[in-house]
Symmetry: C2
Subunit: 209 residues, 2 copies
């Protein structure tokens, strides 16, 4: 269960949040190394030196942005699945999780988009710290697929771990190409759920090659 979005001392801090919002936006647009503390400070209406009252280093800022990016989506997906009627089957749960992930990603996605885009650019220690949060979210999907396989919803020859990795890549990809004006997020979610559950091919009785 993800923790609520507050700082490490458990308090909410408006200035701290403003800095993190600015950092997420700038990291998302320009990458980690290309975003300077002066850029972040300017986007938060401050001077660079002032950031050090709230954070110890640039690495500290990016580490918090990365963690929030995963936790935002994790919480949204968990809440959506938990909100389903008690008798919902695995198909419904998978469809709901796909829709919730895409909604969270595309609605207020500076933190999550930043995570997707800059994870590979940050220092190894920061990556390692974020891995724990990532693993927790991936576990949610693994559980969903293993349960679906156990109850006969998905095939026995499916590798739940590989399926999870491919699906998460597809789920995150719209940050690179999705434009609101073309089709609603709910419709995008329906398409991806269809592909995930039933594939693109016309069903047939044949060998299934």
């Amino acid at each position: 269960m993800p923790k609520p979005i507050v700082d490490k001392q458990g308090r909410k801090d408006a200035t701290r949040s403003r800095i993190l919002d600015a950092a997420a936006r700038m990291f998302n647009e320009n990458g980690f190394a290309a975003t300077s503390l002066r850029d972040i400070a300017a986007a938060a209406d401050m001077k660079a030196g002032s950031l050090y009252y709230h954070f110890d280093s640039k690495e500290d800022i990016v580490a918090e942005v990365l963690d929030l990016g995963i936790r935002n989506v994790h919480e949204a997906v968990e809440a959506a699945v938990a909100g389903l009627p008690g008798n919902s089957d695995s198909r419904r749960k998978i469809r709901t999780a796909i829709a919730a992930h895409l909604e969270a990603l595309l609605a207020h996605g500076d933190y999550t988009s930043a995570n997707i885009r800059i994870f590979g650019q940050v220092p190894a220690e920061v990556r390692k710290r974020n891995m724990a949060v990532r693993d927790a979210y991936e576990k949610l999907w693994l559980n969903l697929f293993e349960q679906a396989q156990a109850d006969g919803t998905i095939r026995k020859d499916v590798n739940p771990n590989i399926l999870k990795l491919f699906l998460l890549a597809a789920l995150n990809s719209p940050v690179e190409w999705y434009r609101t004006d073309r089709l609603p997020v709910a419709e995008l979610a329906r398409l991806l759920a269809d592909y995930t559950l039933h594939g693109a091919a016309v069903p047939e009785k044949g060998t299934g090659n």
Copy 2:
């Protein structure tokens, strides 16, 4: 049809290639901004100043790495599909293209991995230049899917463009998590082709929800 891998004047140049190989490897490992010209030069057994005899700027180097990354895969996939027997159906073509993309990506993938990882980090002008090469490769997949839809292999309610975008994200994702020792690339390709064509769910005669 992608052009052969030579420089802009149409000549092959060993030193130039050595620099590009080194740059692709370093960009892939550390990102664009975090890789200095000194790093690239050192990896190519040179000094930083010497790079300027072969390239005009860091942007020039990265632009060429990006283009080669797409063209390597484009050529491999095109050749694999063209090498199929003349009577091969769309299912076979899609399976072959998926396998060829993964083989090219994971076998000698410094250029392609670098492209996937650093595209979002390079200056806008460099991105724009690489977009033409990317579009050409995406067109190959769009044609494949449109042909498959026309001949009744894939369903009419599939959006070929969206399917292409989701599949390419999945196809590129193994650069982040694939390890050779777990399962062969050919097996990975079979799994992804299964998911793409038939999905993960057990087939049923019902409403298909």
